[in-house]
C-alpha cells in the first residue's frame, strides 16, 4: 500500500531557507573561485549526507544547463570568457542552495508561516512558486514525451513549435487551475481569517546539526586556502 511514499530527507523549512540565504550571501562576499569551490564541495557532501542525492541530481539537470547557456551567451556578448566561468559558478551555488528548499514540502512552509502569523501573501507566493517548479518539470517531460509520438516533418522551427505551443498552453492551463484550486480551498490572504495547523513544524536536532555543518563548511572554505598559502 505504501507505494511511492515520500521518503525525502526533510529539513525544517526555516533551516532550508536560512541555509539557502547563507550560501548565497557567502558567494556574494567571497569572490575567490577556489574558496567557493571548496565550500560548494563541502555543502554538496553535507546535502548528500542528509539524503538529498536524488534531488541534487534532478535540480542539477535544470541549473547547470541554464548556467552554461547564460555563461555562453554572456561570453558571446561581452567577449569575456572569465565572466562566463563565474556565471557557471554562480548557477552552481544557486543549485546547491536551492536543493534543500526543493526537498521541503510546500505545505511545511505554509504551516511554518501560519505558526509565525506571517502575511498570508508570503505563504501563497512560496506555495505557488514551489508547486509550479514541480509541475513545470513534470509538464516539460510530458510534452517532450508526447512530441516524440507526433509524426515528424518540417524544419527546426516547426519542431520547436510542436513543443513550445503545447508547453505554453499547459503553463497557462495549470496556472489558471492552480489559482482556482487555491481559492476553492478557501486559502484567504487576510491574516485575520483563522487557519489551523495540522502538523506543527518543529525544529529538530538534525536541523541544528545541518546549520552547524553549513557554518563549518564556510569556515573551512575561508581558512583552508589561508593555511595552504601560509
Amino acid at each position: 500500500m505504501n507505494r511511492g511514499a515520500v521518503v525525502l530527507a526533510v529539513l525544517h523549512p526555516g533551516v532550508a531557507m536560512a541555509s539557502a540565504i547563507a550560501a548565497f550571501v557567502f558567494f556574494l562576499i567571497c569572490g575567490d573561485p577556489w574558496r567557493l569551490g571548496v565550500f560548494m564541495g563541502l555543502l554538496c557532501l553535507v546535502e548528500c549526507g542528509y539524503g538529498m542525492t536524488v534531488p541534487l541530481l534532478r535540480t542539477m539537470m535544470v541549473f547547470v544547463p541554464a548556467g552554461v547557456v547564460m555563461a555562453l551567451s554572456t561570453a558571446w556578448i561581452t567577449g569575456d570568457m572569465a565572466s562566463a566561468g563565474m556565471i557557471v559558478v554562480r548557477f552552481a551555488t544557486l543549485w546547491l542552495s536551492a536543493t534543500p528548499l526543493v526537498c521541503v514540502p510546500e505545505l511545511a512552509f505554509v504551516r511554518m508561516l501560519n505558526q509565525m502569523r506571517a502575511p498570508r501573501t508570503v505563504a501563497l507566493i512560496i506555495l505557488i512558486a514551489l508547486r509550479s517548479m514541480h509541475l513545470l518539470a513534470a509538464q516539460m517531460h510530458m510534452v517532450y514525451t508526447a512530441w516524440r509520438t507526433v509524426p515528424r516533418g518540417g524544419g527546426r522551427g516547426v519542431k520547436l513549435v510542436r513543443i513550445a505551443v503545447p508547453l505554453m498552453n499547459r503553463v497557462m492551463v495549470i496556472s489558471t487551475c492552480m489559482a482556482v484550486s487555491v481559492e476553492m480551498r478557501c486559502f484567504s490572504l487576510d491574516s485575520r481569517v483563522p487557519a489551523s495547523v495540522y502538523h506543527p513544524v518543529a525544529l529538530h536536532r538534525r536541523d541544528v546539526a545541518f546549520l552547524v555543518l553549513l557554518a563549518l563548511a564556510m569556515v573551512v572554505a575561508v581558512t583552508l586556502p589561508w593555511v595552504r598559502h601560509g
Partner: protein
Amino acid sequence: MGEAWVSGMGDGGGGVVSGVVSHTAAVAALTVRHLWCAYGDGEPWVIKDCSWTVPAGSLTVLAGASGSGKSTLLSCIAGLAAHEPTMRWRGDVLVDGVSHTGRSVCEIAQTVGFVQQNPEAQILNATVEDEIAFGCENLAVPAQEIERRVRTYSAMFHLDPTAAAARLSGGQQERVCCAAALAMDRPMLLLDEPLASLDREGAATVMGALRRLADAGRTIIVCEHRIREVEPYADHTVELIDGGIRPCTLHPCTLRPGTLMPYAQRSGSHAGAVSDDCPRPEEHHSENIRTGVRVPLPRMDGVRVRRHGRTTLDIDRLELHDGDALMLLGENGAGKSTLLSVMAGVLHPSAGRCLDGRGRIIRRASARAEGFRLWRLGASSSGLRTAYLWQNPDYQLFTASVIAEMLARNADREACMAVLEEMGLAGLASGYPLALSEGQKRRLALATCLVSCPQLLLLDEPAAGQDEDRVSDDMEAVRRYLDTHECACVMATHDLRGAERIANGTLVMRQGRVSRR
C-alpha cells in the same frame, strides 16, 4: 434511490426546470436565474437564459454533449465567471438564498466546493495527506478533526495518505481531488467529470461516497458523460441543451448497464441486420474478429518495466495482427498507460524486447533510467507508423486551426475533411484547437491519429469527456479505419461505452501483469 423525479419542463430559452426529490424537503439549495454567459465580447452565448433550481440534499447529474457548456455553467455556480475578466455574463446565482453578486471566490468557496477537470494541476501538495488536510486547515478545522478526516477520506477512496501525489496515476489523482474536496465538508459540491479517468470500482466508490453525502444533506451536482454509471446514484438527471437546462432525453438503452445502442440502428444504415435488442459486449467480440490472412504487427517478449523501485509492467508475451482491436482494462495504476508507452517507444523496458512483424528488434531493454534517455529516437524510428492518443490531448495539439492540425499529419485536404466530418468537427475546421472543449479536443486528437494512417493505433482513454452518441460514432470511425487499413489498435480504457463494440480481444491488467485475457 427513492422516488426521484423531475418536475417542470424547459420551454423555449428560459424555462425553469426544477428537480424535486420526494424524501427531502424541496428547499432550493441552488437557484440560477436567467443566466447568460459567453467567452468575451462578440462571442456567441454558451449559456442562454438558463434558469434552474436544485433542491437541498440531492444528487443531480448534469449531462450534455461535449462543448455544450457544462463546465461553464459549473464555473458560474462556483462564482468563478464573475471574476474572470474575459467572460461576459448576466443573471444571478443564489446558493441557500444568498446571491454571488459582490462576494469573493474565497467567500463563495466556504459554501461551494468545486472539483475541476485536470486533477494534476489542482493538487497543491506533495503527499495525499497534506492535500486532504490543506483545505481543512484553511477552514480552521481543529487538528484532531483533520486527522480523523484524513483517515476517513483516504480509506474511503482507497488512498495511501503517505503516497506522493505526483507519482499517482490519473485516476488516483482524480480520487485525491475528490477526497480533498469532500473533506472540507461544505454544503454544496460541484464535480466536473470526476469519473473521467476512473475505473468502474473507483467510479462506484466516488459515486457511493457522494450518495452518502447527499443523504446526509449535502447538495451535489455532478457533470458527467458516463450516465449509466452515475444515474443509479442520482436523484435526478438533467441535460444542458442549447444553453438551457432540460430534462434528460438520453436514449434509455444507453442507460441500461452492460448494454449499448448499436451505431447502425441510430444511423439507419444496415437497419435490417441489427436486431432491436441492444447487443451484449461478447456478441460484438465474435463479430469483430477478422478472418483470412493477417499481417503480423509488433510482438513483446518478456517485457518488464521498473519505475520508482517497483515493477509497473511485466508482460510475458503479447502479439498483435492487423485488424486486432485490443481493449486494456484494469484498475487505476494497473499499468495500462505504461504498456501503451512501451508500445509507442517512448518508454524503454528494463528487460525483454519488442519486435516488429518481421522479427526485427525495434526496442530492447535499457538498464539506464528512462528520464535520462533524452537523445533516444521516437516511435517513428522503428519503421512502424504509430499514432498515440494521449490521456490529455493538449500535449499533441500545436497549430492555429483544426484543419491545420490535420494537414500537419496528412497533406491530403479532402481526406482530412472527410475524417473531420466523421468526427463531427467539420464545422469547427477554422477554430483554434486549444480553445475547444475537452471532449472536442480529444476527438480532434483522435482524428489526427486516424488521418496520419498509422499501422499501430494506441488510444489512452478515448471515451473520456465524450457524450454517448459521440463515443459510438468515434469508435465506429476507428472500426472503419481498422477494416480498411493494415492496422492494429490497442485501447486503454475504463469507459466501456463504444470500446467494447469494436474490440475483438480484452486484456485485464492488475499490478502491471495480465490477470485475464
